[in-house]
């Protein structure tokens, strides 16, 4: 990671990054001892809240299900005639209109192959845009920027779309 304020020349920067990468690579071979998980799980079992079911635990769910069933029956709409199927557009954006294309953060073939993608509106510091090679005015670096993120099912960012 480079900083704007460093006094090192580019050659020193590169050399230092290589050294730090070497340390990170070797550190990545180290991890928490395997036995720790069992000890922590045992501790978790002691501390977790006890969940004893009340005697008539089943009455609220039954009552809720009955209410939903009756309400649905009372307000149900007209059934479309057979052959007229209603198609739902996939949720591609959280906004009205098309604010512009997404900027891919992962290879396109990988994004295409990801199951369960979803779009999430978010905010992050404008300075982050510089890391993606986008121009950022120093005067506005501290301001938040609104964006839509395309995330994989396990929360990994796949693409970004800047909204302002």
């Amino acid at each position: 990671m480079n900083t704007n304020e460093t006094t090192l020349d580019p050659g020193q920067e590169t050399l230092l990054d290589l050294k730090l990468d070497e340390l990170k690579r070797e550190l990545s071979e180290h991890g928490a001892p395997a036995a720790m998980q069992a000890a922590l799980v045992a501790r978790f079992r002691q501390t977790k809240p006890t969940t004893t079911r009340p005697r008539f635990w089943w009455t609220p769910p039954i009552a809720l299900a009955a209410t939903i069933a009756v309400t649905s029956w009372m307000i149900r709409g007209p059934v479309p005639p057979s052959g007229q199927l209603v198609a739902l557009a996939p949720p591609t954006s959280t906004l009205e209109g098309d604010p512009g294309p997404f900027l891919a953060l992962q290879p396109l073939d990988r994004i295409a192959a990801e199951p369960g993608k979803r779009v999430v509106a978010t905010e992050f510091p404008r300075a982050l845009l510089a890391d993606w090679g986008l121009p950022v005015s120093p005067d506005r670096a501290g301001e938040p920027v609104r964006a839509e993120m395309l995330y994989s099912a396990d929360g990994e960012p796949l693409a970004v779309r800047i909204l302002n």
């Binding site: 050294k19 070797e26 550190l27 998980q37 922590l40 978790f44 501390t47 992050f124 890391d131 993120m149």
Partner: protein, 198 residues
């Protein structure tokens, strides 16, 4: 390249289940973060045994006081790193009070008493070069080493590092810059092939 913020929803769902006593959710969260926490503790303590203790203590703290994590203030990973940092720093004897921002003039060179000479020098890494870098990092002034570990080696964002260290982002940037300069200076003899210690 710095990656954008991760979607917090999957972890928050696990956290909610864990708070209700779901053991699998705790194990999932533990597996996601255990190695990051352990490596960070290893860098702060310089000792595999201390790092293991600090990691265990961090997750015990997490399981007993999960409500102390506020998702609005950052990721769970950053919060766990902050907990582990505080525990690991205590475990090496609380010598690092000098990272208190009010106790330091940020743009000045560290006083001699701030330079940590007592970090355990047990050999941790197999690779000679990586071990040299680790020792050079350990020999930095604590307030510079702190930010270098958080930003460079644990890959926290500037904002997360600022929150963990209790300083503003500008100070994080300037300390990181100086930390890198100091580190480059300490590694220079190795770069030239010299044999003397850092």
């Amino acid at each position: 390249m710095t990656m954008p913020p991760k979607d917090l929803q999957p972890e928050l769902a696990l956290l909610a289940r864990m708070k209700q006593g779901d053991e699998d959710a705790f194990v999932d969260l533990y597996r996601r973060h255990k190695d990051t926490v352990y490596r960070l503790a290893l860098l702060y303590s310089g000792s595999a045994a201390h790092a293991a203790d600090a990691t265990q203590e961090t997750f015990v703290f997490f399981m007993t006081r999960p409500d102390q994590y506020d998702p609005l203030r950052g990721t769970l990973a950053a919060w766990l790193c902050g907990v582990a940092r505080n525990i690991a720093r205590k475990s090496v004897g609380g010598r690092e009070d000098a990272t208190d921002p009010e106790a330091l003039a940020d743009d000045t060179a560290p006083h001699e008493q701030h330079v940590d000479r007592d970090t355990p020098l047990e050999r941790i890494l197999r690779g000679e070069a990586a071990e040299q870098v680790r020792r050079a990092v350990a020999s930095l002034a604590p307030h510079y080493r702190d930010i270098l570990i958080l930003c460079e080696l644990s890959e926290l964002s500037y904002a997360e590092a600022a929150q963990v260290a209790g300083i503003d982002i500008g100070t994080v940037r300037s300390r990181l810059s100086r930390a890198r300069a100091q580190l480059a200076q300490r590694l220079a003899p190795y770069n030239m092939g010299a044999k003397e210690a850092v």
